[in-house]
Structure formats: C-alpha cells, structure tokens
C-alpha cells in the first residue's frame, strides 16, 4: 500500500521539482559569466602631444600565460600609454603589435598569473546563443545576451574592410569593444568589434536644456530596428594573436587580390563545375598578384596544388603562409588555362 502511494505521488513530486526553462537559462548565463569574467580586462589608452585626445577606455581579455592581453587595435594603435585593469589590479601595458585586418591588438603586462581565456575550437553556429561581456561606459563586466545572426559578414569600419565577422544581436555599448563573446559552453567564440548604429535612437541634445529649466523631457523615440553588433571570430583572434606573439609583429601572407565566387552564367560559359574557381575583381598595385601579372576577370582555378572552391578557406590559406614563399597557381584567362608562379609577401597592412 505504501509503495502504491509512493508511485502515485512520485509524478506530482517530480513536476513540482522541475525547473522552468527560464530558471535554467538564468543559471546557465550566470555560470558562463562566472567562468568568463576573470578573463575580462579594462584597457585605458592615453594620448600625448598638442591637441591630444582624452583617455580612451575599452575592453580586452587575457589571451595566454605570460601576461598577453588581446584588445581592439583601433583603441590603442596611437596611444602613448596603455593601462590594463584586471580585477582590482592595474598594470602598465606594452603594445606588442596589431593586425589591422582583424582588428586584433596584443598587449603585454607583467602579470603572468592572469588566467587566460579558453577559445572555442570550432566556429559558432548561426542561431546559437552568445553572452557578451565588456565594460560598457566603464562599468566593469557588463553582460548582455543574444544570438548569432550570421557569420562570414563583411563590414566597413573606419574606412577599413573587415571580413568573416560574426553578426549578433547581443547589445554592445561604447567601452565594450575588445570584450568577450562567449558561447553556451562558456568558451570565447569572438571578440567584440563594432556596432552598426542603424536604428539607434538619436541622442536628443535639447534634453539637457529642458531638464535644466525644469521642463519635462520627452522620452527618446526609438527609430528603426535594434542595432547589430559584430565580433571578430575566435579563429582569427587566435591566428593574429599567435602570429604577433611569435614574431613580435604581424606576419601574414598576402597575395593582393579581391576575389568573388564565379557566378552561374560565367560558370556555364566556361564549363566550370559548381563552386569551382574564383573571379579576381581587383589586383592591388605593387602586390604579389600584380608582379605575377594576374589581371581582373582572371579565374583562379587552383592555388598551391589545390582546387579553389571556398574563398574563405583560400583567404585563410594565403594568410597562413609565412613569407617569403613561392606558390604555383592555375588561372583561366579568355578561356585558356595558364600556370603562374606567385611570390607570397608579408601583408603590408595598408
């Protein structure tokens, strides 16, 4: 009888004990923040000289043992002095180098005991949850949650193109740049890079005056959709940071072209297989491609013995060379296949 009663009560007891999805999510997010927040640092760049700007603050994270810290290149590249605050401690930081193509800058502080971030090995998936940690407006460890809205994005920031970026819905604010984007396992999948201001309610300058004179200030009106934020993926953070730490400067291979996938009409005309080849749309002056006499509208068929199928993979392959190195490539020009030899050079970071 007792056993029968227990069996009847058990489902009700289990129902009462079951956690809600929101409660579980809350616990997960808090656990990610707890795991990732020790990696987060605040970076303060100071400037000198006539007309020098006020100090600029952003975020960063501990990359590896030895006191290496990664932050956004744009914040520190012209700084006269850099300070890194980790927890209650503040250190003078020495810039090692930066990679303008990924926006990654490496600093070094005399604190070998700082715990380094755990970077994800695999790329993040579209639709995955992410937790962004930064120092919004100087407020330490500011957290927001969102989803990955897209990967492989190209953006133009400060007149410079950044490729293969992560697009996300997590809210990002001034001061967060260089901060951490963590996945649901608490691993770093990206570094906070920038925000697309579309739809940001404009700051209404009249508010200050109205408030000063005791008038009621209207609430700012949202204009358009929520802003998009962007992050540099962990793979490129790792690539740039490792190269910088190894060479004490950014060393990446450079061909000097802009290419795009061959469109369907051209593919049919040239008799290429689906996904095969890449059309060169720009050749940089004084570049290895120019020296090898590559031209716009050439179709890159093979590169270093492998067929060209995935442009992002090719981009990574070229960047991975440690110049000087010579590679052979096959191109299609006016329907005729040609072999060329290209001397890969170090990216001048123009």
């Amino acid at each position: 009888m007792t056993a029968l009663g227990f069996l009847l009560i058990l489902p009700l007891w289990r129902q009462g004990a079951e956690e809600s999805i929101l409660r579980r999510m809350e616990r997960e997010v808090a656990s990610i923040v707890e795991k990732a927040s020790p990696w987060l640092v605040q970076v303060t760049a100071t400037f000198e000289g006539p007309g020098a700007a006020e100090p600029l603050r952003c975020s960063g994270f501990v990359y590896s043992r030895g006191g290496y810290v990664v932050t956004d290149a744009g914040a520190v590249e012209s700084a006269a002095g850099i300070r890194v605050s980790a927890g209650e401690r503040t250190f003078a930081a020495r810039p090692v180098a930066s990679d303008r193509r990924t926006g990654v800058a490496v600093l070094q502080v005399a604190a070998p005991d700082l715990a380094p971030a755990v970077l994800a090995e695999e790329p993040c998936r579209v639709g995955a949850w992410v937790v962004a940690l930064g120092n919004a407006y100087g407020m330490r460890t500011s957290v927001s949650v969102g989803t990955v809205g897209g990967t492989g994005r190209s953006i133009l920031v400060g007149g410079r193109k950044y490729e293969d970026m992560i697009q996300m819905s997590a809210a990002v604010h001034p001061g967060d740049c260089g901060g951490i984007v963590a996945d649901s396992s608490g691993r770093l999948v990206g570094m906070i890079h920038s925000v697309c201001p579309t739809g940001v309610p404009e700051r209404d300058g009249a508010l200050g005056l109205l408030q000063l004179f005791g008038k009621e200030a209207p609430a700012p009106e949202p204009r358009g959709p929520a802003p998009l934020s962007f992050a540099t993926p962990a793979a490129w953070v790792r690539f740039s940071a490792d190269r910088i730490i190894r060479h004490r400067r950014m060393v990446r291979g450079w061909l000097g072209v802009t290419a795009r996938p061959v469109d369907e009409a051209m593919r049919a005309q040239l008799g290429l297989a689906e996904g095969a080849g890449a059309e060169i749309v720009r050749v940089e002056p004084d570049s290895p491609a120019r020296k090898a006499r590559l031209l716009t509208r050439d179709i890159l068929l093979e590169f270093d013995g492998e067929p060209v199928r995935n442009l992002e993979a090719l981009r990574y392959k070229v960047a991975s060379y440690e110049p000087p190195v010579k590679v052979r490539a096959a191109i299609l020009r006016h329907g005729e296949r040609r072999e060329v030899e290209i001397q890969i050079e170090i990216d001048p970071q123009r």
Binding site: G51, A52, A53, E54, P55, L56, R57, C58, D72, A75, A136, G138, G152, R153, S154, I155, L156, V157, G158, G159, K161, E163, H173, P174, G175, D176, C177, G178, H193, S194, V195, C196, E202, R203, D204, G205, A206, L207, G208, L209, L210, Q211, L212, F213, K215, P218, L228, F230, W254, V257, T258, A259, R260, P261, V281, L311, E312, L314, R315, A319
Partner: protein, 188 residues
Amino acid sequence: MDCEEIREFLPLFAGGELGEGERVAVEAHLGFCAGCARELDRYRQARALLADLREGEPPPGTWKALWRGLEEGLSLGVPAGLRSRPSGAYRLAAALLVGLAVGLAAHAARREAAGPASLPAATVPALQAAVRGTVPTAAAADSPAALRPEAFTLRVRGGAVPVSPVPPKDRFHLPLVEAFPPPDEREF
C-alpha cells in the same frame, strides 16, 4: 523630402533663415509629420532659452552663416557617404553653438558695463552640464580629434562659464559600421 532631409533644415527654420522654397517644403512636411513638429518645438525651446541668456537679437544672416561654417567644420574627416547628413545631435549642437556664439558676440559688445561675475554658484555646473549634453560626446569618441569641438567659454548675463564639450575621461571605444561591402568578395 523625407524626415531625415527635413530635420537638416529645422535649425535654420527655427531661426527663420530658410529660403522660400525650403521654408514652404518644411512647412508642408510639418503639417502632417508630428515627429518633425516635435523636434522643431525642441529647437524653438532651446533657441528661446538661448535668447533669454543673451543680449539682443543677432544680425540677419548670422544664424545661417555660423551654421554653415560649423557644418563644414564638422564634415572634416567624415567619410564621404556621411557628410551630407549630420546626426540630430550634431544638428542640435550646431544650433546651440550658434546661439552661444551670438551670445558671446553680444556680450563682448557690452562687456564694459557687465561688471564682475555674479552667477549663482549652482548655475555654473548646471549650465555646463546642459551645454555638454548637446555636444555629441559618443560620436566624438570615435571621430578624429579635429571633429571634437574645442572647449569654450559661455558668456551670459552676469558672468562667464567655462565649458568643455567632451568631459575628461568620458571616451569609450566602440567603432561604428559605416557600410556593408559586397558579402561574397574576399581580400587576401
């Protein structure tokens, strides 16, 4: 004209310095657009407050000339695609700085009779905060140094208030995306 274009004209409309064609276009738009009408009200209120702070009316054309000069100054170093559309914050900062400049000129004319500063102590930080609130500090943080307005002195009846548009240690880094290049192209 859409709201964004109309709002570029609002500071001049509030100052009564638009040409006939533009004035008619703005008036027509304001007839049906409550959002732009509200923004115009704010410009007018800000202007009225400034008029109360300064002495006399500016000479005709001053408003327009100063606005244009300031707009050109603000365009320095801004990417070409953004030049023709200063943000609302810039527009209002421009409008307010124009008013301040006019106030400065008016004050200079009567400086002899002004006597020693007699502003109540609490007014100075309040004025500084109000003026600073009109200057786009967040945008300035990501702009070249040439874009950031210089510190200046606000002269009002009874005294002078030093104003630094960008408060010290108030810059936080977050670059803004300017455009989305062709998504399938890669540089290497």
